[in-house]
Amino acid sequence: MSVIVEFLEGKSLLHRLDPRSKMLMWGAFTVGIVLISDPIVCLALLVPFVVWTAASGIPLKTAFSVYVRVYSLIILYGVVSLFLSNANLAAAKDPANIVVYLDPIHKWLPVTNQGIIWDVAMVIRFIFIIYVLQLIMFTTPMVDLVLGLAKWRVPAKAALAMSIALGFVPVFAIAISTIMDAQKCRGWKGFESGSPVDKIKALPVLFTPVVMNAITRAQQISVAIESRGFGHNIEKRTWTRELKFSAADYVVNAISIIFFVATNVLTSMGYGTYQLTYSLLFRS
């Protein structure tokens, strides 16, 4: 039961890139894609990353498995953003655009063709941002990310604490499943059966042991790291791993920056909006 994306060993270009380049790339592409609201463009941008995933030796099944776990969240996001979007509301003013009403009797909550296109772009954007982030997590050890952050003047103690905490997520997950097993052994019915009320009632059974376990574990960890000099003279801390930009890093950083600038300029000129797909589909 792994909750967090695990680092996968490898020697690919993506693995070798400086963590700072990867974080910059994620930042640039996240901002960029948020500006774009055209599903075709969004999808087109996702394609090179999918190819890159495969080229880096990461099974696509693994890369996409996260969406299986959060699919309900994605659907919820898609539905909510559809009805709240300006694109949908604006298009609804012209009845010709309306495809269907969610409430056909009262003609409430119209769904428009432009709204759907815009919403599809939204969902792809959401998927894209998670995708690039986990691609980085797959190919970068946590220490390197922390080191990258430290180089960017994020306090070393905070950065290290974060990495240690993330590293322990799988350990906590195991503890929780052991606690669930232990409770089932004394007649606890778990979350498998019963009404939603029953499920909520079942929570305290886990809550106390899980919290107690987490507190004990947290104390053990802090004792262990204090005993190894953690936090002692933190400004003078050595970082064994060296970060150095290679030629590839310069290329990737250049692409990230160009992409960032280009999307800003082009979208402000009106390109990359859902209108493109709309005109392709409906006005040809």
């Binding site: 059966s193 002692h232 970082w239």
Partner: protein, 620 residues
């Protein structure tokens, strides 16, 4: 093992070896060493009338402790739970009083520095602490990062760190593991990494707090081997807290026994083990052969021929063979242990695995390979084997926590495939190693009533169950207490009661000995024995061969997902070849009896008690 035979003189030579130490590499380290060697006689560790009470604690964890440990000494610290062993370790590097606050009296002086005036970071360069739980002390994503973590915190130059990491890796014989995730190593390897990580900080004192208590037998051996290497190569002061007296008796120069916060014994292993009765009384487990000979000393015919108590099987065999020859030993059948010769197959089959194969999700190798086993009503079964051999995996099939990938599990003749765990919990109860994973109610009463309530038993029945179970486990006076306020033994008994409340036919006791002190392990096994006598079938998983052989009637040895041997306890522990194959060893007395057979005496023993009776009756 030359050290064990003659601890006394060795200790002197160790103390005298300060001058012969190798030239250290790094400048920081030299400066520390210089301050040490300038002093003519120097205590590495000095406790001056130290008492400490944790904030919120009602009584001191350690009391008026006076202690001197010299350079190069190897000290084993033993004592029951709550004797103050861990607190003593925490004093060494300033965790007490800087991290664990409380009321500290007296002075702890480490290499002439008072820990009160230093911080943990600085002291960690002198004292390296290793803890019992490998998982909570490894925090990095690769073995080499883990080893580098300490030196990095100290601000050691990068090249020096790289050299130290390489040295630690080589020392631990973990070449090729540099990039592996510590979390994915075996327990023994993890603990080795923890020692290597501390070693890279170049402390001159190592303090290992129960380094083997959470490990399987292979892991323990691995860690003890690392400790022995550490002694040879580094020639540093070593302080080891452990319950494993059997393996460490021959390693240490000196043993200090703590009880209730005070030092009650301090001397060479031989001196300390002379007081074997005191050690047993406070709940420790001295080597079985020492206990045996200690008891035999009560017999006047033997006492006159016994000049010292043995610490190892070899030594005991030599001494006992001589005594038996001199006193013309003739074997007498001791009747009351015969029951453990055979499995009673007349009884009802209560759980059964038929051709069970099991794969954990996303794994390629089966955790269980085509297992066939039948457990009969009223049996007391011990399942032994290394971690990862499939013991827990098998047992979790008996109450539906796991479902076979292939094959069938039957509980009381019924296919368990479609019965949920909460329903099976009325037939197979499962007691987990750590009671704190289960307890959540505000009172012991509610804790016991939880299962029956959850299965909607009528109210009168629940009240009757609570009263009955509580009295059976002798916690009836605690019914209104909150489980959180009980001591560990009380919490353990409450957790067992919570499982028994559903009146299962089979009670599984998973690892009752791991991470426990010997007295507590024995307490749980005694409870299991009582349950067994009242008609319950007991299945226990354990790493403790002594308890397995003493309590179980049937033993199953697992290795690599398969059952290697399955038979009456006497037969299994006679099969030393199969045991060796799974890296297990019969308990000391059993091995002693076997060795004596080689000397021409027909003795067979599974416990100190049994061996004692056989020898004593054969002599008189």
């Amino acid at each position: 093992m030359t050290r064990g035979e003659n601890p006394g003189p060795q200790m002197k030579s160790r103390c005298g070896s300060i001058n012969t130490r190798v030239v250290p590499r790094n400048s920081l380290y030299i400066s520390i060493q210089l301050t040490v060697t300038r002093e003519p006689v120097m205590d590495e560790v000095l406790f001056e009338d130290v008492s400490f009470t944790y904030a919120g604690g009602s009584k001191p964890a350690i009391e008026h402790l006076n202690l001197k440990i010299g350079k190069g000494e190897i000290v084993l610290i033993a004592g029951p739970n709550a004797a103050g062993k861990t607190t003593l370790c925490r004093c060494l590097n300033g965790l007490v009083p800087h991290f664990f606050i409380g009321d500290l009296h007296g002075n702890v002086v480490i290499q002439s520095r008072n820990t009160r005036d230093e911080d943990i970071g600085r002291l960690s360069q002198i004292v390296g602490l290793v803890f019992d739980d490998p998982v909570s002390q490894l925090v990095c994503s690769s073995v080499s990062d883990e080893i580098a973590f300490g030196p990095e915190n100290l601000g050691i130059p990068r090249q020096e760190i790289v050299a130290r990491v390489a040295e630690s890796i080589e020392f631990l014989r973990l070449k090729g593991y540099e990039r592996r995730r510590p979390q994915f190593l075996s327990g023994g390897e993890q603990q080795a990494v923890a020692i290597g990580a501390v070693m890279a900080m170049r402390p001159s004192i190592y303090a290992l707090d129960e380094p083997t208590s959470n490990l399987d037998p292979i892991g323990s051996e691995q860690v003890i081997a690392v400790v022995k290497d550490l002694m040879k190569k580094e020639n540093k002061t070593l302080i080891i807290v452990s319950h494993n007296l059997e393996d460490l008796a021959t390693v240490a120069d000196r043993i200090i026994v703590l009880n209730e916060g005070k030092i009650i014994l301090d001397g060479t292993p031989r001196q300390v083990f002379e007081s074997v009765d005191i050690l047993e009384k406070i709940g420790l487990a001295p080597p079985q052969v020492t206990r045996l000979m200690g008891r035999l000393r009560g017999n006047s015919k033997i006492a006159s021929r016994l000049d010292r108590l043995p610490l190892t099987v070899e030594e005991a065999c030599e001494i006992l063979a001589r005594i038996l020859r001199d006193s013309r030993y003739s074997p007498k059948q001791v009747g009351r242990h015969v029951a453990r010769h055979e499995i009673n197959k007349e009884q009802e089959v209560i759980v059964e695995a038929e051709n069970v194969t099991f794969f954990y999700p996303k794994t390629e190798t089966p955790a269980l390979k085509d297992i066939n086993v039948k457990v009969y009503h009223g049996e007391f079964v011990a399942i032994i084997g290394q971690n990862g051999s499939g013991k827990t995996t098998l047992v979790k099939h008996f109450n539906g926590l796991l479902r076979p990938t292939k094959g069938t599990v039957r509980v009381k003749g019924e296919d368990a495939a479609d019965i949920p765990t909460w329903r099976l919990s009325e037939r197979v109860g499962y007691v987990f190693q750590n009671p704190d994973l289960q307890l959540f109610n505000t009172s012991v009463r509610n804790e016991i009533a939880f299962g029956p309530k959850s299965l909607k038993y009528p109210k009168e029945k629940i009240d009757a169950i609570v009263a009955d179970t509580a009295s059976r486990l002798k916690i009836d006076h605690l019914l209104n207490e909150s489980p959180g306020t009980l001591d560990k033994g009380g919490r353990q008994r409450t957790a067992i009661a919570a499982v028994l409340a559903l009146n299962p036919d089979v009670v599984v006791v998973d690892e009752p000995t791991t991470g426990q002190d010997p007295a507590m392990s024995r307490q749980i096994m005694n409870t299991a024995k009582q349950l067994n006598e009242s008609g319950k079938t007991i299945i226990t998983i354990t790493h403790n061969m002594e308890l397995a052989s003493e309590y179980a009637r049937r033993v199953i040895v697992m290795w690599n997902g398969e059952i290697l041997i399955d038979g009456p306890v006497r037969e299994v522990f006679r099969n030393s070849q199969a045991l060796r194959q799974s890296y297990l060893r019969a308990p000391q007395v059993t091995r002693l009896a076997q060795a004596l057979q080689g000397e021409g005496f027909s003795i067979d023993a599974l416990s100190v008690e049994e061996m004692f009776e056989q020898v004593e009756q054969g002599i008189s």
